[in-house]
């Protein structure tokens, strides 16, 4: 079978029909990652009792686990109990057959929380101690200091790294194909199941991911400019 660019086009259309799934997975996991990861970083920075110690132990461990395992483990952990429940309750059966995108979202968000918490930790560490002291010296509380001075500076530092994290999440989200979620990669693959044009499908998917990542990179540059100039 020779390469046929027509099938790239066919697969591209199929992939783009599932674009919203990839976008949903990567954007939601980035946002949730920031919502969960920032407090984690703050707990570690300010040595909040128990939370800081727990995070010190867990985050290095969780960081060492590949994304695909997050997906597989959560898939198992969520579906297995439902299997058992399904025998007695009808609603469990419904849940079991629901869209697996929620499992993908949970897995990617957990992974993202770990990654982003590390980003935010280094961002917080990039703000000199003197900035806190200046805040305190003019009578700000720690919360006010964080809100008004520390976090804005930390965020400016974090923007390019967060954008890299986001690009990692866009590409990483393709891993959900192992639990049969129809995202960009899944959509392209599905179109090839009929035609057996796999190479064309892979290329189509690659093109979409590349454009998405290039777009995110562009966005990063614009955001960095907005935060710079001071």
């Amino acid at each position: 079978m020779t390469f046929d660019s027509v099938y790239v086009w066919v697969s591209l259309k199929a992939a783009l029909r599932c674009l919203h799934v990839t976008l949903l997975l990567s954007i939601v996991s980035l946002v949730l990652g920031m919502v969960l990861g920032t407090p984690l970083a703050l707990c570690r920075k300010f040595r909040v009792r128990f939370a800081a110690q727990a995070a010190d132990v867990l985050i290095p461990v969780l960081k060492g686990i590949p994304l695909v395992l997050y997906v597989l483990i959560l898939n198992f952990a969520i579906l297995k109990p439902l299997d058992a429940l399904a025998e007695s309750c009808a609603w469990a059966d419904k849940l079991r057959l629901m869209d697996k995108i929620y499992i993908g979202l949970a897995a990617l968000s957990a992974y993202s929380a770990v990654i982003v918490s590390e980003t935010m930790r280094s961002a917080l560490n990039s703000v000199p101690e003197g900035q806190y002291e200046a805040c305190f010296s003019v009578g700000l509380t720690r919360g006010q200091a964080l809100r008004r001075v520390i976090m804005p500076q930390a965020l400016a530092f974090a923007v390019p790294v967060l954008c890299n994290n986001f690009i990692g999440l866009i590409k990483g989200s393709s891993i959900v194909y192992v639990i049969e979620i129809l995202d960009v990669l899944g959509g392209a693959m599905a179109s090839a199941q009929v035609s057996y044009r796999f190479l064309e499908a892979y290329i189509a998917a690659a093109l979409v991911y590349w454009v998405l990542c290039a777009g995110a990179g562009r966005g990063s540059k614009i955001l960095e400019k907005r935060f710079a100039g001071r």
């Binding site: 900035q131 002291e133 200046a134 305190f136 010296s137 003019v138 009578g139 500076q153 400016a156 001071r230």
Partner: protein, 253 residues
């Protein structure tokens, strides 16, 4: 005269290293107290303890009607003390994400709930007084060291604190920028604002001080009027320190 701020028996150790060994200080209203002493004698640590940037191990602080033991100071006491004092740091510590005017406004608006318009007005007035009326929209990275320190002084003065603590405000500056900052500090002193100043600028200290405190090795060795300390020191350690600084030979005051 009334005391603005009184410190009694401050002790502070870093690990085994006892840096303050029971320091007491009494600052009267409108007075300029200059703290002298060799490097490592605990001057910075003392100022930082007053502002609770460092937690003293023991001692007592009285500011106005508020009296607190350092060890038992609660969050509210700490905030109260910080809102009645201001600090000018050796390396300026301007908020790098804020313009000069915003730097001055921050403590007014966020900590003291002054309306933004009024705060802006006060910020512009204070910046003009330190000769930086035209720089209100500049970010710290766009200012020279001397200009940054002048903004920091404006930030402190705008808060209308009962006392301003200065920790070697000119020692991070290039020599040619020292003068402009000292001039601003002289003006602040003339306004009658109570100041505690750590400095190595001897002639400046002599000009500006009402009261001089000499510290060494975590203790106040000697204190008194500038004339006394500079020209008739009683303690051997004070003499040695002043000789090293060469005040008597360099300046014929």
């Amino acid at each position: 005269m009334k005391s603005v701020i009184q410190i009694k028996g401050v002790r502070k150790s870093f690990g085994k290293n006892e840096v303050l060994k029971g320091v007491s200080l009494d600052v009267k209203t409108g007075e300029v107290v200059v703290i002298l002493g060799p490097s490592g004698s605990g001057k910075t640590t003392l100022l930082r303890c007053v502002n609770f940037l460092e937690n003293a191990d023991d001692g007592e602080l009285t500011i106005g009607e508020l009296s607190v033991r350092f060890r038992y100071a609660g969050k509210k006491d700490i905030l109260t003390v910080r809102r009645r004092t201001a600090m000018v740091f050796q390396n300026y510590n301007l908020f790098s994400n804020k313009t000069a005017a915003e730097n001055v406004m921050e403590g007014l608006v966020t900590a003291r709930k002054v309306p933004a318009a009024e705060a802006r007005e006060r910020a512009e007035r204070e910046l003009a007084k330190v000769g930086l009326g035209g720089k209100r929209d500049a970010y710290p990275s766009q200012l020279s060291g001397g200009q940054q320190q002048r903004v920091a002084i404006a930030r402190a003065v705008a808060l209308n604190p009962e006392v301003i603590l200065f920790d070697e405000p000119t020692s991070a500056l290039d020599p040619e920028l020292v003068g402009e900052v000292l001039a601003v500090m002289r003006a602040v002193a003339r306004e009658g604002i109570t100041m505690v100043v750590v400095t190595h600028e001897m002639s400046f200290a002599h000009d500006i001080a009402n009261h001089v405190v000499f510290m060494d090795d975590g203790l106040v060795v000697e204190e008194g009027a500038p004339k006394e300390i500079f020209f008739h020191p009683k303690e051997e350690r004070t003499k040695q320190f002043l000789d090293r600084i060469q005040l008597k030979y360099d300046y014929s005051i």
